[in-house]
């Protein structure tokens, strides 16, 4: 497991900004969450992000080159949360590049395609990748995408839900095309991260004092400010 220094750094940046030291509009936020979308090639990761960030959809498939990202700001309890959402290429050839970005991620959307058995079978491997390259407190939502294609479904809702339970993940079936559960998936992931932050504060009061030795766990980074009041 890697420690996660960026959590603390991002929040430090946010704290400074709230105090009016921001460098511009892009820096105007209270918290920044780094999220990753992972899963097999062609399950719809890019389309999912496009739907969420731009409310757009195209059925044309263009394989993502390495990694890309979009930024979206959401509001929760009067707090501005900047989501830095990394869209990863699913192809094996990019694995070296994409896993390098797992570090510091606070949340993952692990996606499979309900019309593609292989992509569902790979979920366990992706989960292992998260455990290997990310940190213990990263939150994960399992998303069975393309649920608009009911006629071509090969993975049942129950199978998806059961696997999510086994892995300890939240679960949604989604459709970037028909805009089903896209926003909800991101919102749930944000909620989970906020809950985790609050939980960490409860278990380690030293965090709230900004004590430099405060840690979430042995492998987690020190928090620099109180968690959001989600």
């Amino acid at each position: 497991m890697f420690p996660n220094p960026s959590w603390g750094l991002l929040q430090m940046a946010a704290t400074q900004d709230v105090k009016g030291k921001g460098e511009g509009g892009d820096q105007n936020f209270d918290y920044m969450f780094k999220l990753l979308i992972i899963g097999n090639s062609s399950v719809g990761k890019t389309s999912f992000l496009f739907r969420y960030a731009d409310d757009a959809f195209t059925s044309a498939f263009v394989s993502t080159v390495g990694i890309d990202f979009k930024v979206k700001t959401v509001y929760k309890n009067d707090k501005r949360i900047k989501l830095q959402i990394w869209d990863t290429a699913g192809q094996e050839r990019y694995r070296t590049i994409t896993t390098a970005y797992y570090r510091g991620a606070m949340g993952f959307i692990l996606m499979y395609d309900i019309t593609n058995e292989e992509s569902f079978g790979a979920v366990q491997d992706w989960s292992t990748q998260i455990k290997t390259y990310s940190w213990d407190n990263a939150q994960v939502v399992l998303a069975g995408n393309k649920c608009d294609m009911e006629e071509e479904r090969v993975v049942s809702v129950d199978s998806g839900r059961l696997l999510a339970e086994q892995l300890g993940f939240e679960f949604f079936e989604t459709s970037a095309k028909d805009n089903i559960n896209v926003k909800q998936t991101f919102e749930r992931l944000v909620d989970l991260i906020c809950d985790k932050m609050s939980e960490s504060l409860d278990t380690d009061p030293a965090v709230t004092t900004g004590a430099p030795t405060a840690k979430l766990t042995d492998s987690a980074p020190p928090l620099q400010q109180p968690a959001c009041n989600c």
Binding site: S42, V65, I67, D68, F69, Q91, R93, Y94, T96, I97
Partner: protein
């Protein structure tokens, strides 16, 4: 894939030639433009598209307005190249076999590439062989941004190449030069720096041909992309 052109060919510069000497010699690029002999041989079509894009971009590079107010930025030149290329490639209908993915502004920060050409596997439409392309203005003293692209290429593996299209060469402002980076990393490992390219003339040929013809005889001579054909050599007005 042809590996004969390397960073180390910098040490073996061909003697400078009068550009006009090469003007009428058939070069590797002229062969590329030959008609296809078999179905699926789309190399010549792609070459024509790149040639057209290069020609259009060079028109901008060479343009001199009397008031000297026209100074297109590198980004504009990249757009001119891409728009021309894309227009051509669509008209020839070979996008199913050879894709061109333009990177987003965010992606450019990461692999540093401007676009990626790829041969596609069917039916998955996933890339098989890729060419990561970066188009950049040559600047004296360093080409370090290119290292990102070289690193990206290396991390993807042997099925990925990097190609740099460079313009603004000090003694030849109107041409676009190409260099590929199959083994940049080997050069770097031996202590050389990528930025040496900024002060050399050892630019390799464009290598689309090598995608389908590994035995292609790579020519280490200078290969500025020509204005209107694939015949190597400078074609100043």
């Amino acid at each position: 894939m042809g590996q004969s052109f390397s960073f180390f060919s910098l040490k073996h510069h061909p003697p400078k030639q009068d550009p006009t000497d090469q003007k009428h010699q058939p070069g590797v690029f002229s062969k590329l433009a030959a008609p296809a002999n078999k179905p699926g041989d789309f190399v010549h079509l792609i070459s024509n598209c790149i040639s057209a894009a290069s020609t259009r971009t060079q028109e901008y590079l060479a343009f001199k307005d009397l008031e000297e107010k026209f100074h297109p930025s590198p980004r504009v030149l990249i757009q001119v190249f891409l728009m021309t290329y894309i227009t051509q490639i669509f008209s020839l209908n070979v996008t199913d076999a050879f894709s061109c993915t333009v990177t987003t502004p965010e992606q450019r920060v990461l692999p540093g590439a401007d676009w990626v050409w790829a041969t596609l596997e069917k039916p998955s439409q996933n890339p098989k062989i890729q060419i990561v392309v970066q188009m950049a203005q040559m600047e004296p003293g360093g080409m370090n941004p290119h290292e990102k692209t070289v690193d990206f290429r290396a991390s993807v593996g042997k099925d990925c190449f990097a190609l740099f299209l460079l313009f603004g060469k000090q003694d030849d402002q109107e041409n676009i030069y190409s260099v590929r980076s199959n083994n940049f990393e080997a050069a770097i490992a031996k202590g050389n720096k990528v930025d040496r390219f900024s002060s050399t003339e050892a630019f390799g040929p464009i290598f689309i041909k090598s995608l389908v013809r590994p035995d292609w005889d790579l020519n280490p001579d200078l290969h500025p992309l020509p204005r209107s054909s694939w015949i190597p050599g400078r074609m100043k007005k």
